[in-house]
Amino acid sequence: MEMTRTIKYEADRVKGFGEEVMSVPGCEKLKDCIQCGTCSGVCPLSIYMDFTPRQVIEMTRFDFKNEVLGSKTIWLCASCYACSVECPQQIGITDIMYELKQRAIKEKVYPRGLPTPVLAQEFTKMVHDYGRVNEILLATKMYMKTNPLAAMGMSTLGLGMIKTGRFSMIQEKIQGRADLARMLETVDEGK
């Protein structure tokens, strides 16, 4: 039987990670968490999470960066904001989840095989290049990159979309594509 060490030593912490997250707009109140578990109690997706939202908050506060950024929890967040609204300490938990997602993508440490981060990145690419998103093309791209077999399973849905006239393979583009791309690039320049 393989044994995993679960005790945490100070060396397991990535010191400063919690402070960094707490300095991001919308994430400041993380330090006020009283670990009551309301966020998990209202989270509709908590049933599939490897850590509950409350645990993610505590792990972030204590710098367990690798564990947090590698967790499935942050990718299960559907941004329904129930936790943020119900939190008795008014912590912007949804915004914290966004911040953790951004860091996981930046450092490419999200769990392998998880389509959500792939979708997010394809989405932003589409916005950057064309200014608008075609949901059908976007879904196709995501499936091709993560699980082409699953795409086959979606064929019934595709047929349904065609039948109801909601299927379109044409990528809409805005006229101000160059402007939008320029604007987005200023963000990287400002960093």
């Binding site: 009551c36 578990g37 109690g41 209202v42 989270c43 509950t52 409350r54 645990q55 008795p88 300490q89």
Partner: protein
């Protein structure tokens, strides 16, 4: 600018207050700076100026250095002005030659930059040095204390305070808004952690109050106006009409059974709406006074519409079977009107209590949506032997297959409803953990149900409280650490069908759980009474940000207010349980007794006076005085201030067009020199 008549010799002391000041202000540097200011003979810094050696230092220096002014830069004058004035007097100087600078609350505690805080301390010290030169010798005056007292609120706090004063031989007026005294405690079944029957320990005290020769009990009454000052308050009390003569009613309740409404039909406030009462009723069997009340909103003998002044109009539509039943006692009087009583008292104890948080404000917990969600106060009545069900715990919704009432087999008690939540009330309501456990015990005892407590933290810090928690654990009551996310009625699994489902993270196990129960109890928190702000204004008190009445000092004057002679007791000052409330009520009574038995108080000589030769007799000050202390001398065509009535508010001083009113301790040259002093530092 400076007075040349006398040779000013100032002694200056800056206090470290341990680290309180010294950590943020360089005290030695402040002392060094002040040493160089005009008229300063000596300047010292010292660890604790309020200590005996600190006070002796002042006395010794006055004698040795022939000081005639003293300035101490330390904490708030609220705390130690009296201490240092006394030290100054003990050194042989008039105490009003002393002046105090607050460099703790106004400086070290509120700043984070030591350099700048030190600069501020110097500027404030400079202002005081310039000001104190213009101080004059003043005499304190004394006022007599009326020995009668007023207690406002007839809950356990008011009852205990009134009894304490009355037993000490003082005459007490006890004013209660509801038809009976008893307050929230009268609704409780048992008390934690001893599980004494609440009625058994409270009702004897209630009857004692009702029968005490020194207590005038005015129930169904409210304080309408308070004038005057410590020792001499004039209070107007509004006595609401109960349409029953208190003198003639003997509490036989024949009228209630005779009422044309055969069955009780109207929501019973005392039973939290779980029971019904008639238009003529007595709130509960042990009500004190034992006098019935008629509710004009539902009594047939009143019109549904009210008169232009808001008073109910008699319709005379009813057969008045109640009057018939009352017979010769002739106690029912439909023409009774609101009455105003005027009393004079020396001291007032405000014990107006709390209200419970409205659980509807947390819609996620389903109160008002799902019938089997209850408030804790409703459960108090439901488990109570004299409650609407005789102590049988019956669900509001759902029947057994045979049509009999259903008892809960599983119960979830949700702690911290409305409390510890920035969206509602941020404070911990202090009593809910314990009363939740008490109800858990009682519900388990009455129903044998599985009982779950959902808590954030268990707060059981009183005597015997942790032991009570242990007892509950032994009894098999479940405790799940997690603030409930939601109470809902949609089922995911067969065992959830027809139940209320509590969704919560069991934070200790790390699982999100769905727990189906038959009954949900919401442990609603405590908050200030809805009209706390009005009451605050009435008695000239302060409130904290959360709306509870503010004590004069959180540690050292917990039952005093900022108005002399007015004290607070019980949950109007903040959430507290019965033992703490009773202790506080006793303390408030003792504080009142101090004044009463001393017989007089010394008052600040900060009164205003008129420079006779400059007064033009314009009378503009007279209507402005809130204490009616200014009279007009017709013969001399001058205004005159009655020093005994003047409270030193300064309104007339600011309003006088000819500048002919002066206030002791706030004379123009004192204030101007203080301003110049504070601006002199650069």
């Amino acid at each position: 600018m400076q007075s040349t008549k006398e040779n000013i010799r100032i002694g200056f002391y800056v206090c470290h207050c341990g680290h309180n000041i010294a950590a943020m202000v360089d005290c030695a540097d402040v002392a060094k700076y002040v040493k160089g200011l005009p008229n300063v003979v000596l300047s010292r810094d010292y660890k604790y100026m309020c200590s005996d050696p600190g006070q002796e230092l002042i006395q010794k220096d006055i004698r040795e250095y022939k000081l005639n002014r003293v300035v101490v830069a330390s904490c708030s004058p609220l705390l130690h002005e009296h201490t240092f004035r006394s030290a100054t007097a003990a050194g042989g100087l008039n105490p009003y030659y002393f002046h105090m600078v607050n460099i703790r609350e106004h400086d070290s505690w509120v700043h984070t930059d030591r350099g700048e805080a030190t600069v501020k301390a110097k500027a404030l010290a400079h202002a005081a040095i310039d000001r104190v030169a213009f101080h004059k010798a003043l005499e304190t005056k004394t006022v007599k204390i009326n020995p009668d007292a007023l207690v406002v609120g007839g809950g356990i706090a008011g009852i205990h305070a009134a009894m304490t004063l009355a037993n000490a031989g003082k005459k007490v007026y006890l004013v209660e808004r509801e038809p009976s005294i008893g307050g929230h405690m009268a609704k409780f079944d048992k008390t934690f952690p001893t599980l004494d029957c609440a009625a058994c320990i409270l009702t004897p005290k209630m009857s004692e109050v009702g029968a005490h020769p020194n207590i005038t009990l005015w129930s169904y009454s409210e304080v309408a106006q308070v004038d005057g000052y410590v020792g001499n308050y004039k209070v107007r009390v509004k006595r609401k009409p109960r349409y029953i003569s208190e003198e003639r009613c003997i509490g036989c309740m024949d009228c209630i059974s005779a009422c044309v409404f055969k069955e009780p039909k109207f929501e019973d406030e005392f039973n939290e709406g779980l029971g019904k009462r008639k238009p003529v009723y007595i709130p509960f069997p042990q009500a004190t006074p034992q006098i019935v009340v008629i509710d004009p909103n539902v009594c047939l003998n009143f019109k549904r519409t009210k008169g232009p002044d808001g008073t109910p109009i008699v319709s005379d539509r009813c057969k008045k079977t109640c009057v018939e039943a009352c017979g010769d006692k002739n106690a029912i009087d439909f023409t009774q009107k609101e009455e105003i009583k005027e009393i004079e008292v020396g001291t007032i104890i405000v014990a107006t209590g709390f209200k419970t948080f409205d659980s509807k404000r947390v819609p996620a917990y389903g109160y008002g949506i799902y019938k089997n969600v209850y408030t804790a106060l409703e459960i108090e009545r439901l488990v109570n032997a004299s409650g609407p069900t005789g102590g049988e715990v019956i669900l509001r919704e759902g029947k057994n297959p045979d049509g009999s009432p259903k008892h809960p087999k599983s119960i979830g008690i949700i702690h911290c409803v409305g409390s510890r939540d920035k969206k509602t009330n941020v404070w911990c309501s202090r009593v809910c953990c314990m009363y939740s456990m008490k109800l858990a015990h009682l519900l388990k005892e009455h129903t044998g149900a599985e009982v779950y407590n959902f808590y954030i933290d268990i707060r059981a810090p009183g005597k015997g409280y942790e032991e009570f928690y242990n007892k509950l654990l032994d009894e098999g009551v479940h405790f799940i650490r997690g603030r409930v996310g939601e109470v809902t009625d949609w089922a995911m699994t067969p065992e959830e069908e027809g139940k209320l489902v509590i969704r919560v993270e069991d934070t200790l196990a790390g699982y999100v759980r769905r727990i189906p129960v038959d009954m949900v109890v919401l442990s609603s928190g405590l908050e200030p009474q809805a009209d706390a702000q009005d009451v605050r204004r009435l008695f000239n008190m302060s409130c904290g940000t959360e709306g509870f009445f503010l004590e004069r000092h959180p540690k050292l004057a917990p039952v005093n207010t900022f108005t002399d002679g007015i004290f607070i007791a019980g949950a109007c000052q903040g959430p507290r349980d019965i033992p703490d409330t009773v202790a506080q009520a006793g303390a408030a009574a003792a504080e009142a007794l101090v004044l009463i038995d001393k017989g007089f108080v010394e008052q600040e000589p900060n009164t205003a006076f008129i420079l006779d030769e400059e007064c033009s007799g314009c009378k503009s000050c007279i209507p402005l005085c809130p204490y009616s202390a200014i009279l007009y001398d017709e013969t001399r065509k001058k205004a005159h201030i009655n020093e005994a009535l003047c409270k030193g508010c300064g309104t007339c001083v600011a309003a006088c067009p000819s500048g002919s009113i002066v206030q002791n301790l706030f004379e123009d040259e004192q204030i101007f020199s203080e301003i110049q002093g504070v601006l002199a530092y650069d």
